[in-house]
Amino acid sequence: MESKLMMKLVVGSEAIFFLALMMGFVYFAYFPGFDPKSLALLDLTKTGAFTVLLLASSFTFWRAEISHRNGQIGSLKGWLAATVGLGVIFLFGQGMEYNHLLVNQLVVSKGTFATGFFTLTGFHGLHVFIGLIMLAVVLYLTFLGDFDRPQSSVISAVGIYWHFVDIVWVIVFTLVYILPHVVNMK
């Protein structure tokens, strides 16, 4: 119970951190307007696909929690591994995108849009990475038999964090990839 409460407080604090970064992004991206050339470099469909995979990892984690509660250790291991896998794929996708942008000379110093974009997505990526470390530890402990009994609240605490990271991405994706097209069409 204590670790869940702790995680809720941390996530609440982190939410404000991301809110501040988003404010920074929106402030520049919407007021001076978007640089169409930078925007054109973002691949909506590809990132959209990776977004779906990240959201799927929230589903697999939810299944893992249920398996844990029912004491089904085998499927707990499976769903946890799937969650880790999906998270890794998402980070891989982000790496590919960054590579594509850097090849096309879109770097942090290339205007306010680029600065905001890399800061926002970069910090989200960092949080995914931290989440993956936690998930890997949980998976390892599962193999050691630490979660054989359904009482432990560690898994649900990690879950709160992981779902939070997913929700943040939904907002980031909407702000960075979708809204600009709507705004620019007008």
């Binding site: 119970m1 204590e2 409460l5 702790m6 407080l9 941390v10 609440g12 604090s13 982190e14 404000i16 951190f17 809110l19 501040a20 970064l21 404010m23 920074g24 402030y27 520049f28 001076p32 942090v108 110093s109 205007g111 306010t112 600065t115 905001g116 890399f118 800061t119 910090f123």
Partner: protein
């Protein structure tokens, strides 16, 4: 009728590093005991108080006479930046966390914090944050853009030495530690209260710590975000705050003050709690209007996030914006005023003992009220336009931070020192310290109100010989040296008490709350058994069953 409740043994052994040295340095470094970490926080705070004070004295030497050339402008910029940053982030913040971490488990009848290892981690990361900040002196120059580090002065083209980078990293580390401790305190208060310890029986201090935890969690992320954005600006050539390439200087101000104003309350709410305890005990009365003291704490915490633009009236945000924030800033005077009356009401008709702790608590009421009144004068926009960036602001903020926060903390130190160390402080020397400090403080900063009104700008390394400037600055500097002398008395006082102070009994002041139930100093395990809790003065009920708050009606008990 009073039966003791046995504290259950912890289900899992308390985490420890397995270090096998009884009381050596290694034992302190590896400790996860909340009392030791609390003391470490306080020692860190004392150390930086001396360092930050020395920086201030250097500044006052420079300002002692007109057109003085003791320090150049470069050195002066670094000094006032480091002075402010040190005092706020590495003196006041660790001091309030130290008292919170030391006392909260004791007051709620717990044997540890909810997360002892996180507690140790939070302290040490803040400790190293402070070291990193000071390392900047060796690395090519300290930060020099003021403690609030305004854009665009914080950018590479204006401050190319690495000081501001160390500022970012140092404060980021300390900030992460503060958030960790804030969350840890909330969880501790929610989940580790002893059996039957209802929320309405919590000591005021614990209430303030609880509210403060939420303030920390909500305020520090804004600062942390601003710091990483600034680091990206400086290291990766980003454009958040760089006005030369499309960035916004105002964005920094918004993010900084969205943190900065609540930070004022973060370092003053626990002192509110401290003096609530001190005034109760030395007036031999329960606090007057308990629900109002707690409720106004909540009101302050909520309002704290709706007033930050009063630091930005001079930036041209327009009349609507200015009027809104002027109104909200004046509003915050109401809950603060309520508290002042609660404390006066507690003293009213009590049999007051003016110990050093009580002297500090009483002078807190006076000095903090002065700071509050000058604060309200800033909420009036035209006055703000006239006085912003003058010494009037310097005077105001020192009345709030010293006259408020620090006086509360010193009051707490004199009150709890016997519990923490098992030794009594010398009351006679305590009085000397108190009077020297209070006189020095008022000499230094009261003059600065006048200096501000007659137009002396802050953050400028010297001043021309205009009428009044020389004399007022001289008085201000002499006051600062008086405070310096009083600090020597203070250090001697602590040293003497630790070396040959009188042994303290478990409950020397006839206190009301559970920390006075343990031995002085407390053992590693705080409590074996606890009496049941029927009021917010559980120990008083135990020691004075004939008065027994638990027998009183709710109105009587809570002073409503």
């Amino acid at each position: 009728m009073i039966t003791d409740v046995t504290i259950p043994e912890p289900q899992a052994p308390l985490p420890g590093a397995g270090v096998n040295s009884s009381q050596g340095l290694l034992q302190w470094i590896s400790s996860v005991d909340h009392k030791q970490i609390g003391i470490l926080y306080l020692l860190m705070s004392l150390f930086y108080l001396l360092v930050g004070g020395a920086l201030a004295l250097l500044m006052r030497v420079q300002l002692m006479a007109p057109e003085n050339q003791f320090l150049g402008p470069e050195a002066y910029n670094q000094l006032f930046t480091m002075h402010g940053t040190t005092m706020i982030f590495f003196v006041l913040t660790p001091a309030i966390l130290g008292f919170s971490v030391y006392l909260t488990p004791l007051m709620i009848g717990a044997n540890e914090m909810a997360f002892p290892r996180l507690n140790a981690f939070s302290f040490w990361i803040a400790f190293f944050g402070g070291l990193l900040l000071y390392f900047s002196f060796l690395a090519g120059g300290a930060p020099n853009a003021g403690w609030f580090n305004y854009a665009p002065l914080n950018q590479m083209q204006y401050s190319s030495q690495p000081g501001i980078d160390y500022y970012c990293i140092g404060l980021l580390l300390a900030g992460i530690g503060t958030v960790g401790t804030g969350a840890n305190l909330i969880v501790t208060i929610i989940s580790l209260r002893s059996h039957g310890f209802k929320y309405r029986y919590l000591p005021i201090f614990v209430w303030m710590v609880f509210i403060n935890g939420f303030l920390i969690l909500a305020a520090f992320p804004s600062l942390n975000a601003a710091l990483v954005m600034l680091l990206i600006d400086r290291q990766l050539d980003g454009h958040f705050f760089n006005t030369a390439s499309g960035g916004s200087a105002l964005l920094w101000q918004h993010l900084f003050w969205l943190f900065g104003h609540p930070e004022v309350y973060i370092v003053v709410l626990p002192p509110f709690g401290i003096i609530s305890e001190v005034i109760q005990v030395y007036s031999r009365k329960p606090i007057f209007g308990y629900p109002f003291v707690v409720g106004s704490g909540f009101a302050i915490a909520l309002l704290a996030f709706g007033v930050w633009v009063h630091h930005m009236f001079a930036t041209g945000m327009g009349n609507t914006m200015n009027s809104f924030f002027a109104a909200s800033s004046m509003l915050i005077g109401i809950p603060t005023g309520v508290k002042i009356f609660n404390w006066l009401g507690t003293m009213w008709g009590g049999s007051i003992r003016f110990t050093t702790a009580m002297l500090f608590a009483t002078s807190f009421l006076v000095e903090f009220t002065i700071g509050g009144l000058s604060g309200i004068s800033f909420a009036i926009v035209p006055i703000d336009w006239q006085l912003t960036d003058t010494y009037y602001v310097v005077a105001h903020l020192h009345y709030v931070f010293l006259g408020g926060s620090l006086f509360g903390l010193l009051s707490g130190l004199f009150y709890w020192f016997p519990k923490m160390t098992g030794r009594m402080l010398n009351e006679k020397l305590g009085r000397w310290f108190f009077w020297l400090f209070v006189i020095g403080f008022n000499l230094t900063f009261f003059m600065q109100h006048i200096l501000g009104v007659i137009g002396m700008p802050r953050r400028v390394y010297t001043f021309p010989n205009l009428p009044g400037f020389g004399l007022l600055n001289l008085i201000s500097s002499l006051g600062a040296f008086l405070m310096g002398v009083s600090m020597l008395v203070f250090l001697y006082l602590l040293y003497e008490a630790l070396r040959r102070g009188k042994r303290a009994s478990d409950n020397p002041w006839d206190g009301y709350t559970f920390e006075w139930l343990t031995t002085s100093p407390p053992q590693l395990k705080n409590f074996d058994t606890l009496p049941p809790v029927f009021s917010f003065r559980p120990l008083h009920d135990l020691n004075h069953p004939e008065i027994g708050d638990h027998k009183k009606s709710t109105d009587d008990k809570y002073g409503t």
